[in-house]
């Protein structure tokens, strides 16, 4: 059994330096983790290229599905074909950035718990959540994200919209918020493994859940719309950034709602993480 006080001493640097120095220290750690990931990735170059291909294939599949749908209709709710293409592109962009930065780490959390390797993470003199969240960087994700952004650009061209600098900045900021939502929800699901020990199929659950972000929000009505906006904000993460880009927000409140939901998701995941750590009781040894 690990003592509670260990968590606290692990979370805070014993010398309690200034905030500036702490940031610098974490940046240094993060750079080292990046370098580490890069070196490991270069060891499996063929695998790296294969994964890029798989991601592109899945992306093409989603776009193909959309083309099939629009063979039979002119709009889904209020969304036209190229708007949905942009939505799929933006959703892919966000998802791939999340995948590059956090997905593997979240997926491995249950492994850390069930092998008891979490002990070592808790004993290291850095914030444990920071460490388990960012240990690995999946560099392929950045390449795939670029393909998503390219599709967003092409769709904008087809739609004849040329967003202003302010719109693009807002799009970028909302994408960051969306990544935080992805991360918070996935981290939340992963912490459940502290109770169940094994969380098989977690990644599949993630893909299934986030597939909703690619469907136009106008398709959902009543109960479903409320659930996927206010409980699991899938209908905000990709559609609000796209609406900003094509300038068709119903009201500026949509942006505020998305930011509020981002904050809430993150806070809930923090709460869950604290509960989970209290529950942790190592394995074997």
């Amino acid at each position: 059994m690990l003592n509670q006080s260990i968590f606290r001493s692990a979370a805070a640097d014993p010398r309690s330096p200034s905030a500036f120095a702490t940031c610098g220290r974490y940046a240094g750690i993060y750079v080292a983790l990046w370098r580490n990931s890069l070196v490991r990735e270069m060891g499996f170059q063929a695998n790296f290229l294969f994964w890029l291909f798989v991601e592109l294939l899945w992306f093409a599949l989603q776009l193909g599905f959309n083309s099939v749908i629009y063979l039979h209709t002119d709009s889904i709710g209020t969304w036209t074909k190229w708007e949905v293409v942009m939505l799929i592109g933006a959703s892919h962009f966000i998802q791939q950035l999340f995948q590059a930065l956090f997905l593997v780490n979240c997926a491995q959390l249950s492994e850390l718990v069930h092998t008891g390797r979490m002990d070592f993470m808790l004993l290291l003199p850095v914030n444990t959540r920071f460490l388990v969240s960012v240990r690995h960087v999946d560099l392929g994700g950045f390449f795939s994200a670029a393909s998503g952004l390219a599709v967003v650009g092409y769709a904008a061209h087809q739609l004849n919209v040329s967003p202003s600098l302010a719109q693009m900045l807002a799009f970028a900021a909302l994408c960051v918020a969306a990544i935080v939502v992805h991360y918070s929800l996935m981290f939340f699901m992963a912490t459940i493994s502290f109770w169940t020990v094994r969380a098989q199929g977690l990644v599949m659950a993630y893909y299934n859940l986030f597939s909703i972000a690619r469907i136009p929000d106008a398709a959902f009505r009543s109960t479903l719309r409320v659930i996927f906006t206010l409980a699991i904000p899938m209908l905000l993460v990709a559609s609000v950034p796209v609406k900003v880009l094509v300038d068709r927000l119903d009201s500026p409140w949509e942006i505020i709602l998305m930011l509020a939901m981002t904050l809430m998701c993150f806070l809930v995941s923090v709460l869950m993480w604290q509960l989970a750590l209290r529950r942790y009781s190592s394995a074997s040894s």
Partner: protein, 266 residues
Amino acid sequence: MSIYWQILNIGIQNTLVYRVNFLARALFNLVPLVAFIAMWRAIYAGKTGDVSGYSLTAMISYYLLVTIVEAMTSVTEDDWQIAADIKDGHLSQFLTRPIDYLHYRFCLFCSGRSVYTVAAAAPVALFVFMQREHLVAPPSGTAFGCFLLSLALSAVLQFLLSYLVAMLAFWVLEISTFAFILLAFERLASGQMFPLDILPQWLSQAVMWTPFPYAVYFPVSVYMGKTTGIALAQGLGIQLFWVVATYALARLVWSRGLKSYTVVGG
């Protein structure tokens, strides 16, 4: 035979441990279907007439049936486990025992499917119940009988396809990329995401030359009475052909694979 009966039994007991996991998985698998149905409702609301002969009710029926077929037949972890057996050298124990590995895995697949079907029954039934006015009955008893037959063949076919991909573990370190490529083709070409006959004709005809439609689309179309008479008999024949062909290929790849199989350590 009794050996395989025992394996089936043990398989069921082992997978029962993961029943909560299965329940969660079944719930999450419903999410994209909810989304698809919502999307089609919005599409039908904005237009008049059918989509390639599908009314809204028929379209929703199609997705409900896909959910049921998928719960009963799709492969979940088997390919990963087989690949792990090969890579970690667990295969060796089967080579010295009077058990056929393919049959052994098939028994485990069946036990996994039966536990999954039971675990998924409640959420799937609830989901279908909520849309019950859209679930059409099969047009005849014969259609339903043929549906059950093609359902069984579809399960065997999906198992064999995954088994084949897992066999790649004899030659490559990591099969996950291949497994995801197979999954992508299954998603698109099996009819999981949309009924294949809404595709342009040349494309749907081309897809019918692959084994994938016989995993999901074909059984569902039999149930819905879209495939009848000679086309039905022909379809069942082709489905059987794919099962036999993938089985033969699985045997061939297995014997090739064993030649390059090496166990490190003991």
